[in-house]
Amino acid sequence: MAVARVPVPVPEAVEAAPPSTLSRWLGAAREFCRARPLGAIGGGVIVVMFIVALFSPLLAPYDPEAVDFGAMLARPSLAHWLGTDAFGRDVLARLVFGSRTALMVGFGASVLGATLGAVLGVASAYFGGRIDLYLQRVMDIFLCFPLIILALALVAILGNSIPNLIMAIMVPMIPRSALVIRSSALAIREMPFVDAARAAGFGHARIVLRHMLPNVMAPYLIMLTAFLGQAVLAEASLSFLGLGVQEPTAAWGLMLRGAAVEFAETAPWMAVFPGLAISLSVFAFNLFGDSLRDALDPRLRTQ
């Protein structure tokens, strides 16, 4: 069956010596935007989020933790665009600063989780035999726990500072990433260049980290973007339960906690906007991740 191949921005696919790494990536990015408009929209939202998080103090109209009892539960107005909460804190300011928490926990947990999982997955495939078997069994055990339940137990152990929250959300991601990466790495293990590296006398660590790991970049990036959204959702859920980020720090899940239901009738803006912020950011991560997967996964390339 003749199949039309959609040109795909895979940096590795460029065979002729490219002018420079930067222009190669820029070209790939341009190609990605053209071929996958939905993914480009997602990427755009992510960039905006980053800018908001970086320049929060400049963009937020008020101090996110400043209590103003003169303006409790104020309706959205020119002074407070998205209204205020039960302590008179500006909802917009808290949303803007909340993006920092979301991105920090989201990126921290997903990058660490996906990377550790990738290393374990590649090592598992490389060594094979007994090590592979035992590692797989341990991963199977971790996979039996729903993400939120494992994260909840870990937060209870570690306490709920932001680094601990990152740890707690990262751990459940490791086996999920290891599982996927291992299956890609199994094929790479059979490649001649791995034999060559072994023949050249390189150590195990060097072969795994320098020769095999770079070749599972595609599934790694796919897992990473999928984890991003999940991590942001997990952080919001934990904070909503009161087990994540603590008051008065601004976090989207925390803003929905308690007050949102109690004041549903009198101050619906308290419940609507933080939820929209969570949904929009996770939506953008997923949209971007989906398009990236379509672009990188050779099995899905045919359309």
Binding site: L38, L152, L154, F240, L241, E265, V272, S281
Partner: protein
């Protein structure tokens, strides 16, 4: 095939044991225990002696390996012991809440399947048209929307539009089905949307794959009408991965309910779990985790059996 299935069956037990060990260790690493928490109100007035006696009552003074062995041997006889916080037998604590969570989970599954399969099939048939894009955006949005927030939005809309609030007190289904539905349909919809998103995406990609197969072309070439091609040839073959996703998600739904139950004030397994962790109720946490993990492991095994039964390539291995 029997050798393969026997191997899968036997593998369930070390995994369950591993889950038990991991749970046991994890919850004992959490600072504080149930005795300390119970008397935390009047710390200082309680002598160390009383605390030690209470700990001995729960067997918490024994070496860890003996605590673990006692518990595992109990579980092997399906005896989960008593809750350390309330003193009631575990099965009694779990029974009513399990009925509630299970009902929400089943209703959410119905919502999900009813939405996912038609949407996924349509999206696959109209690939890369606006219909496909709309379905994909709808399902990606489902993955992005936290179900607890969706629950809050439902409550908000019902209040603002209908000036009506779903009942906040649980009525068992067999007592008054109408009251029961009025309360539980909302969490089921909130959870079901996310669930349907997962299943829609799987249906779409499975259908896309199947529609390219030679036997579909053959079916069309021999003049079969579109409806029959879809129902008899395409959908039947595309259902396997979809059912897999539905089964796995169902097993994990209990976990997903942890947050949503808070919004609707449902006294289900999720809420019970959060309380049990807060109280350091070791026996209850262990029982709940074993229940969820056990469901997941059994669902996985049943899937292996189903695959072997349906797919001859596995059957004759």
């Amino acid at each position: 095939m029997w050798k393969y299935l026997l191997k899968r069956f036997l593998l369930m037990f070390p995994t369950l044991l591993g889950v038990a060990l991991l749970t046991f260790v994890l919850i004992r690493v959490i600072p504080g225990d149930v005795v300390e928490l119970r008397y935390s109100g009047d710390r200082g007035s309680v002598s160390q002696e009383v605390l030690d006696r209470e700990r001995a009552r729960f067997g918490l003074d024994k070496p860890l390996w003996r605590q673990f062995a006692t518990w595992v041997l109990g579980v092997a006889r399906l005896d989960f012991g008593e809750s350390m916080w309330t003193g009631a037998p575990i099965w009694q604590e779990i029974r009513l809440r399990f009925a509630l969570s299970l009902q929400v989970a089943i209703m959410a599954t119905i919502v999900a399947v009813a939405m996912a399969i038609p949407l996924g099939v349509i999206a696959a048939l109209k690939q890369d048209t606006w219909v496909d894009y709309a379905v994909r955006i709808f399902s990606i949005a489902g993955l992005a929307t936290p179900s607890f927030w969706l629950g809050i939005v439902f409550i908000l809309l019902l209040l603002v539009v209908f000036h009506w609030l779903p009942p906040m007190i649980y009525t068992p289904f067999w007592q008054n089905p109408w009251e029961n539905m009025k309360q539980l349909i909302w969490p089921a919809l909130a959870v079901g949307y996310r669930y349907s998103a997962v299943a829609t995406r799987m249906t779409r990609s499975a259908m896309l794959e199947v529609l390219r197969e030679d036997y579909i072309r053959t079916a069309r070439a021999k003049g079969l009408v579109q409806r029959l091609v879809l129902a008899r040839h395409a959908l039947k073959n595309a259902m396997l991965p979809v059912l897999t996703v539905i089964a796995l998600e169902f097993a994990f739904l209990i976990g997903g309910l942890v947050v949503t139950e808070q919004v609707f004030n449902l006294n289900g397994l999720g809420l019970l779990f959060v309380q049990a962790v807060a109280h350091r109720d070791y026996t209850l946490i262990q029982a709940l985790v074993m229940l969820v993990a056990g469901c997941f492991i059994v669902a996985n095994f049943l899937m292996d059996v189903g695959y072997a039964w349906i797919d001859p390539r596995i059957r004759y291995r």
